[in-house]
């Protein structure tokens, strides 16, 4: 079981992902943008942060670069539906900034859960998942 901070601005996706993660026995805390996530991280450090990239107030890219400095051991999974610019570019950037793995939406939830398990067991997820 992992403590997961889920950062996603879309209510539907956030709720669905929360259920998917809880069904896999993970403990989930939710934030709907980068600012809320920063606030959550002040109170508690999760095992893994799953974050969207394109969000209001504070984007996933800014969040990842800040988190990487303040919480160097926190595993980060970046997710993006892309579109406004180049999603693969965003995801590449998120990995460069320190995300352990990235997924393009719509994500195969089995692959996401598998990535979380691997990270929890201290393994590196090297291949970019799409």
């Amino acid at each position: 079981m992992a403590k997961i901070l889920l950062v996603e601005d879309d209510d539907l996706v956030r709720d669905m992902l929360t259920q998917v993660l809880q069904r896999a026995d993970h403990e989930v805390t939710c934030a709907s943008n980068g600012e809320e996530a920063t606030e959550c991280l002040r109170n508690e450090t999760p095992d893994i942060m799953v974050t969207d990239i394109i969000m209001p107030k504070k984007s996933g890219i800014t969040l990842i670069s800040e988190v990487r400095t303040k919480h160097p051991n926190l595993d980060i999974i970046a997710i993006s539906g892309g579109g406004r610019l180049d999603p693969s570019g965003y995801l590449d950037l998120s990995e460069t900034l320190g995300a352990s793995v990235s997924f393009e939406k719509p994500i195969d939830n089995t692959a996401l859960l598998m990535a979380i398990d691997l990270l929890m067991h201290g393994q590196k997820v090297t291949d970019k998942a799409t």
């Binding site: 669905m16 998917v20 994500i107 939830n109």
Partner: protein, 306 residues
């Protein structure tokens, strides 16, 4: 008559002769002047005509440039819009797939509900493919470009296509040796889309003529393209003998979701993707067409030289 009485006669004759000579000289001069002036007038007329022609040509080029620029901006705006929609659509599809997947886990695997939920997921995946195609139009993907022999690239695409082309369709290829910097897969996609459209436009009967040539940097043909640079281009002219299209269709042909095909037969994304790929190669694409006679697509790709 005595000589004394007519002493003035030789003077008179000389005077008359002189007057005649002066008149002749004046006439010659006037004729020469008239000819010179006529020549000058003709030249001036020609200059004027040329100037009018040049101005009309310049005006025509300006109009074409404005139309091309407007069209480019419109397509760019549509790309941005499509990209935005694609982003939100991916979230919606992800929610559909995710919730349906969970609901499916909760019901008996042998039940009809389980089977039907599977169909919802399949439909959402079809939506996902469509969004991927919209994104291909809207986003500048960072494809890897290599120096390519354009003739071989086209030949490879044609060999892929030949088995799918109806027997009544003749495919003529007139190549030249030229290299471009490009992505082979993307250029194959351009040809596949254009040839498939041509086949559809001919209802399986007719000729598709693909002709390669070179357009030099100083060619006035390039003036109609606002983004064209001062360099040599490889030209691919793809002509079909299909039913052609009207002006309205021609103006919108590269817009995403614009299709003349029956519902369910085309997404209207093929030519917008072709346009996007050509632009990504820093190239140009235009179309000309006549109803009942066929269409011609012209693609320009910057020539690559070491």
């Amino acid at each position: 008559m005595t000589p004394e009485r007519h002493f003035w006669l030789p003077y008179f004759i000389t005077a008359i002769a002189l007057v005649i000579l002066i008149l002749i000289a004046a006439l010659v001069r006037i004729t020469h002047l008239a000819r010179t002036q006529a020549k000058a007038l003709k030249k001036s007329n020609e200059n004027l005509k040329n100037e009018i022609k040049d101005r009309m040509h310049a005006e025509e080029t300006k109009q074409k440039l404005e139309v091309a620029l407007l069209q480019g901006q419109k397509l760019q705006a549509m790309g941005t819009l499509a990209g935005g929609i694609a982003h939100d659509f991916n979230n919606i599809l992800y929610a559909i797939i995710g919730y349906t997947g969970m609901a499916r886990e909760d019901v008996d695997q042998q039940s009809l509900v389980h089977k039907n939920l599977g169909k919802v997921i399949d439909a959402a995946h079809r939506g996902q493919d469509l969004v991927a195609r919209i994104l291909a139009f809207s986003r500048k993907q960072h494809h890897h470009f290599d120096p390519l022999n354009l003739k071989e690239t086209i030949e490879a695409a044609l060999s892929l296509l030949r088995p799918t082309i109806p027997a009544g369709t003749l495919l003529d290829f007139h190549p030249i040796e030229a290299d471009v910097l490009g992505n082979k897969t993307q250029l194959h996609q351009v040809l596949v889309n254009l040839i498939n459209n041509a086949v559809d436009a001919m209802d399986g009967e007719g000729t598709i003529d693909i002709r390669m040539s070179r357009v030099l940097a100083n060619d006035t043909f390039l003036k109609q393209f606002p983004d064209a640079r001062q360099k040599n281009y490889c030209k691919i002219e793809l002509k079909d003998t299909g039913h052609g299209m009207d002006q309205h269709t021609m103006e919108r042909i590269f817009e995403p979701f614009f299709t003349t095909k029956q519902v369910g037969k085309g997404t209207g994304l093929g030519l917008s993707i072709v346009h996007s790929i050509v632009k990504e190669h820093e190239g140009e694409i235009i179309v000309s067409s006549q109803l009942g006679k066929g269409s011609t697509f012209i693609i320009l790709l910057p020539e690559y030289s070491v």
